[in-house]
């Protein structure tokens, strides 16, 4: 009997994997629709990248513009690779979800009683990034959502690591997981499963997101037969921290936070003039990333291998605003670079870091995937952002589609029954999961993980080319064939064993790395977040004639199948949006 292989069985209508904003919002909605909801998360709840983020993008009213403008900006930013139906939902629903957050006690920063403050970031034609009072919005939102979910008696399991999705015939019927607190092997039987496991910038040496986000969700979905798209579109953020310690690769935002904020190379040159003379340091994340990466590659990097952010010309007023609304920013600068930088008296060095996975599990307007029973939402899903995400759209995506995923998952749960689980599969999964603990010798997961991160950063990073990508694919394949089956955990205790966990994460990371490298290899153009040195011509807008399609990935017959997935341009055709010069202020107090 399959039960013999399991230490604990949980039965639930809706299983949510992930305790970030997307997972929490989904859990709330599913509860409201009457479903029993179990939420598992690898870390604490709230957690994930959600607690680190700062802004929501939404056209509230007033000076943040109309949903239509938000729609167009998002499509233009995504270089037409977005699923326009999803974008339409995003822009129409985001203001509603934000109002709902206020109904749940969230407070957004304001200077006037009836409006929010909003700022503008690259690609948004208006200031429409609103933020919470207090700490970052993502942090606040996650806590408010957690309180609401807790109040609705969602069944939380923290430090619970999902290892695989369970299937019966063609359907997803739950998941297997390890309770890291005890080392128990758990089966969660669910009528609907929502994948909300977040992103994966931790596949790189330099990545900004939460450490526990190693991309397990992408791998689980792939192995369960889900269609993933656009995995080559990893978004980098140009201003990543350079630090000898843990803060390395973290980011404090994508643009210099002052009107006269400069980027300088080792000759003190404002090099953006050669890449984007109009927008200069206010250019998009993708363009600034490529510019910095090129400066570094061509030997114009500074002392610590990056370029300088010079905020020394910051005005007193700007400074006061930082202290008032984003005290986190100067505080972190001080913690990382020292007092002088914290007081904006000295420039500090940065280089790009990986931030956000634009691609992921393909979903429709109901957050359904191609596999019945499996829903996806948040950063693990794909479609909303196309080739490049605009700042703030990720948080809005989480709450907008979280609600949709929760509702549809609950609806499905009403219609279907629990399905039996196959003995064989479960036995195999248990063996796979416990193998690193049982092996007496082999490879050290930490070292392998580091090696993978280096491969990814070197060959599947901000600047890519065919030779490098082929190398990456070969090396990753070698890890898959000869190293992954021999990973072992020296530490044999199953309790809070991070070494064991990392051995399992490597499995996900290899899947993910291969998907990203293969997709990047496949796409022979440069478009926003995907820059091919051997196809520089069309950067940043892409070759719309041949490549205005999604890159699809399926796991079939033991290998990855990569193909073009045509897009439906339901509202706007590629090239139709034209924005003349954008000349609006950085900030409005009437959003």
């Amino acid at each position: 009997m399959w039960r013999d292989y399991v230490d604990q069985i949980i039965k639930t209508d809706v299983l949510v994997i992930g305790g970030g904003a997307a997972g929490l919002r989904a859990a709330i909605e599913a509860r409201d629709q009457g479903a029993h909801v179990t939420l598992i998360a690898k870390g604490n709840v709230p957690g994930g990248s959600s607690v680190m983020s700062a802004f929501f993008a939404a056209a509230m009213s007033g000076e943040s513009g109309t949903p239509q403008e938000h729609f167009e900006d998002t499509i233009l930013g995504g270089a037409y690779l977005n699923n326009q139906k999803l974008v339409r939902i995003l822009v129409e629903e985001a203001p509603k979800r934000i109002k709902e957050l206020e109904e749940w006690g969230m407070l957004f920063a304001r200077e006037l009683p009836e409006y929010y403050i909003a700022v503008r970031e690259g690609g948004h034609r208006r200031p429409r990034l609103i933020h919470a009072a207090g700490k970052g919005s993502g942090n606040r939102t996650s806590h408010v959502l957690f309180e609401q979910a807790l109040d609705r008696s969602v069944d939380f399991h923290i430090f619970t690591f999902a290892t695989s999705l369970l299937k019966s015939d063609n359907e997803v019927i739950g998941a297997t997981a390890i309770d890291m607190k005890s080392g128990e092997f758990i089966v969660i039987q669910a009528k609907s499963t929502i994948l909300a496991s977040g992103g994966t910038s931790k596949i790189y040496t330099r990545g900004a997101c939460a450490r526990l986000n190693t991309g397990d969700g992408f791998s689980m979905a792939l192995r369960a037969g889900a269609l993933l798209t656009n995995m080559e579109f990893m978004q980098y953020i140009p201003l990543g921290i350079i630090h000898p310690g843990s803060a390395d690769g973290y980011t404090l935002g994508g643009t210099p936070k002052a009107k006269e904020g400069y980027l300088l190379n080792k000759f003190g040159e404002r090099f953006m003039v050669r890449y984007d003379p109009v927008w200069m340091e206010k250019s998009t994340r993708a363009r600034m990333t490529v510019a910095i990466a090129k400066e570094i590659k061509e030997g114009r990097a500074c002392e610590r291998g990056g370029v300088l952010v010079d905020l020394t010309r910051i005005t007193e007023e700007e400074k006061a605003r930082h202290y008032k609304y984003q005290p986190y920013f100067p505080f972190c600068l001080k913690e990382i670079y020292g007092d002088k930088v914290g007081q904006f008296l000295e420039p500090y060095e940065v280089k790009p870091t990986a931030l956000f996975q634009n691609g992921g599990v393909k979903i429709n307007e109901r957050c359904e995937t191609n596999v019945p029973g499996l829903f996806a939402v948040g950063e693990v899903s794909s479609g909303v952002h196309g080739a490049n995400r605009l700042g703030g759209n990720a948080m809005s995506e989480c709450v907008v589609f979280g609600k949709i995923a929760g509702a549809n998952a609950a609806e499905r749960a009403k219609k279907v029954n629990f399905r039996e689980i196959g003995d064989k599969k479960l036995k195999e999964e248990r063996e796979r999961v416990f193998a690193p603990l049982e092996r007496e010798d082999g490879y050290d997961p930490r070292k392998v993980k580091e090696r993978m991160q280096e491969i990814m950063w070197k060959y599947v990073g901000p600047l890519r080319n065919e030779v490098g990508l082929r190398k990456a694919i070969n090396e990753l394949t070698e890890i898959r064939m000869s190293i992954e089956p021999n990973l072992f955990s020296q530490n044999k205790s199953s309790r809070m064993n991070f070494e064991w966990m990392e051995a399992l994460e490597i499995g996900s990371m290899v899947d993910l790395g291969l998907m990203m490298a293969e997709a990047a290899f496949f796409r022979k153009e440069s478009r926003e977040a995907h820059y091919r040195e051997d196809f520089p011509e069309y950067f940043p807008h892409g070759d719309n004639e041949n490549w205005c399609v999604e890159t699809g990935i399926l796991y079939e017959g033991g290998r990855l199948k990569i193909f073009k997935v045509p897009l439906e341009f339901t509202e706007i055709k590629p090239g139709e949006i034209r924005i003349e010069k954008v000349d609006v202020p950085y900030l409005t107090v009437r959003a």
């Binding site: 310690g245 973290y250 955990s489 205790s493 309790r495 064993n497």
Partner: protein
């Protein structure tokens, strides 16, 4: 510290499935850069030396609240704590946060806190949904809420530092209090936060300020959260009987015990101390309730007075005209009564022409120095240890005798953490020949509380085994000191009791610094 090339890192290890009891493992970790953080040290161990060490972190910079640990007995966030600020002689001891069950090594189980949060029902409550969103709210209306309650990241560092907290949740602890206060100060929330706070045992808070000292978001919890919640409860007449008695007695009799006012100056009889007269005296010696009425604390008052007389300081006391200083009243959230007391005292002081006040108690020192100015009571307030230190420095007070003893000094909350006076008392002790000072592991900003703050010396809500005074005297005893020196009448009486309860009265005595000084001049 002087930066060493190698750090000695002692780490708490415990795997409940295989170990009978916790043990410590020691690792050598290279100190590689100036702003190296505790998280870097732990990751080095985890990644390079010992894979089996369990320690959690997620965001690596001030967001996820997962990396809380205790370093050299002081709870902190590993990702923002500079090693060089915490290492003592190149050594650090890292332990899990206290109170919470240990899952393994440095990883604690947070489920009790989540369950309690669920039980308490911490979430936004609106009886009438807003008509319009954004709901009209002035930015000033939300600023307090924004600045002091919103930023909490659930790291649990504060609760693990709190001497009044425990997992029985008779007291909800500072972390959950901040969550409650968040809605108390939300301009539109309609939940009965006062009742929740009362039911959460808010009056057990000792006002010690340990939570303030450790909160990585610097939320100044004791003032902005704990006192605020107590205030809200008091306003709704929700307070435990002992607290009510305490406040009522102070209101009626000017002291917590309901003793007659006439007896207030009795301790000073036949000592030759004069009633304060601004024409004659430079200083007012303010004695306070505990020093005036408690027999043990009276000894301290006498000692100080004797020393001052001996040196020829021109001072007087108020005797039976003295009133409570109100510090504890304010700490218990009874702001109305505090205002009354403060104004009355200020009036009296002004009428008498008082300019300079020496206080016996750090509690009086705190309120007179920091809070009286809010009611336009501007006096030069000096704690007696500071005064003695000055006398010694300028040669007016001559120490003539040896005092051969090993002494450990306990920083009182209201002198130390709340007012940052750490060195004056130590300097006084150091000036005594043959006296050897040994420090307890937790000292200065990280000093524990005697358990008497916020009126608890009277209300006794935090007692029993968990009593901070008992824990503290054990710590003092473990230093090998024969004398536990204090500079506060509340500490004096709390510790003397604890020394007896712990059966240490043969090994160690509790003395106020003034009593030691009296013996050597």
């Amino acid at each position: 510290m002087t930066i060493q090339k190698t750090l000695k890192v002692k780490v708490f290890r415990f795997n409940p499935t295989i170990d009978d009891k916790p043990y410590y493992a020691t690792y050598d970790v290279p100190f590689t850069f100036e702003k190296m953080k505790v998280i870097d040290v732990l990751r080095y161990i985890q990644e390079k030396i010992d894979h089996s060490l369990s320690f959690t972190w997620d965001c690596r910079l001030w967001n996820c609240g997962l990396c809380g640990v205790s370093v050299n007995k002081r709870p902190c966030l590993a990702c923002i704590t500079d090693v060089k600020n915490v290492a003592v002689n190149g050594e650090i001891v890292i332990e899990p946060l206290s109170y919470y069950p240990v899952i393994k090594d440095l990883v604690i189980d947070r489920t009790p806190e989540i369950e309690e949060m669920h039980k308490l029902g911490i979430k936004y409550i609106r009886n009438n949904p807003p008509e319009k969103i954004p709901e009209p709210m002035n930015p000033e209306q939300i600023s307090f809420h924004r600045d002091w309650h919103l930023a909490c990241i659930d790291c649990l560092v504060c609760s693990s530092a709190c001497p009044a907290f425990s997992l029985d949740y008779e007291f909800l602890g500072p972390h959950l209090s901040v969550k409650l206060a968040k809605y108390l100060t939300h301009p539109k929330d309609e939940g009965d936060r006062a009742k929740q706070a009362y039911e959460g045992g808010i009056f057990r808070c000792l006002g010690c300020g340990r939570c303030d000292a450790v909160c990585p978001l610097q939320l100044e919890i004791s003032k902005n959260t704990m006192e605020l919640l107590k205030s809200a409860s008091v306003e709704e007449s929700l307070a435990p009987p002992a607290v009510r008695d305490f406040l009522e007695n102070i209101y009626k009799f000017g002291n917590p015990w309901g003793e007659s006012r006439a007896k207030r100056g009795k301790w000073a009889e036949n000592m030759g101390i004069e009633g304060y007269d601004s024409k004659k005296h430079e200083f007012l010696l303010y004695v306070g309730c505990v020093g005036s009425y408690d027999p043990r604390a009276q000894q301290m008052a006498k000692a100080i007075a004797e020393v001052l007389l001996k040196v020829g300081v021109s001072f007087g006391i108020l005797g039976s005209a003295e009133n409570c200083d109100g510090n504890e009243v304010a700490r218990l959230g009874e702001k109305g009564l505090f205002e009354l007391i403060a104004e009355k005292n200020i009036q009296q002081f002004k009428k008498l022409g008082v300019k300079k006040i020496i206080t016996l108690s750090p509690h009086a020192y705190n309120s007179m120095k920091n809070e009286y100015p809010k009611f336009r009571g501007y006096f030069e307030v000096i704690h007696y240890t500071q005064f003695l230190h000055d006398l010694i420095k300028n040669g007016k007070l001559k120490i003539t005798k040896d005092f051969e003893a090993k002494v450990t000094y306990h920083d009182p909350c209201f002198l130390g953490r709340h007012n940052k006076v750490y060195e004056a008392p130590r300097e006084v002790l150091k000036s005594i020949p043959s006296l050897e000072i040994v420090e307890m592991g937790r000292n200065r900003e990280n000093s524990l509380c005697c358990g008497g703050g916020s009126g608890n010396f009277y209300t006794d809500l935090v007692g029993g085994k968990q009593s901070p005074s008992r824990i503290r005297v054990e710590e003092a005893y473990n230093t090998g000191a024969k004398i536990l020196a204090v500079s506060c009448p509340v500490c004096l009486i709390m510790f003397e009791d604890a020394v007896k309860t712990e059966g240490l009265d043969k090994e160690m005595v509790v003395k106020d610094i003034s009593e030691i000084i009296r013996e050597v001049v």
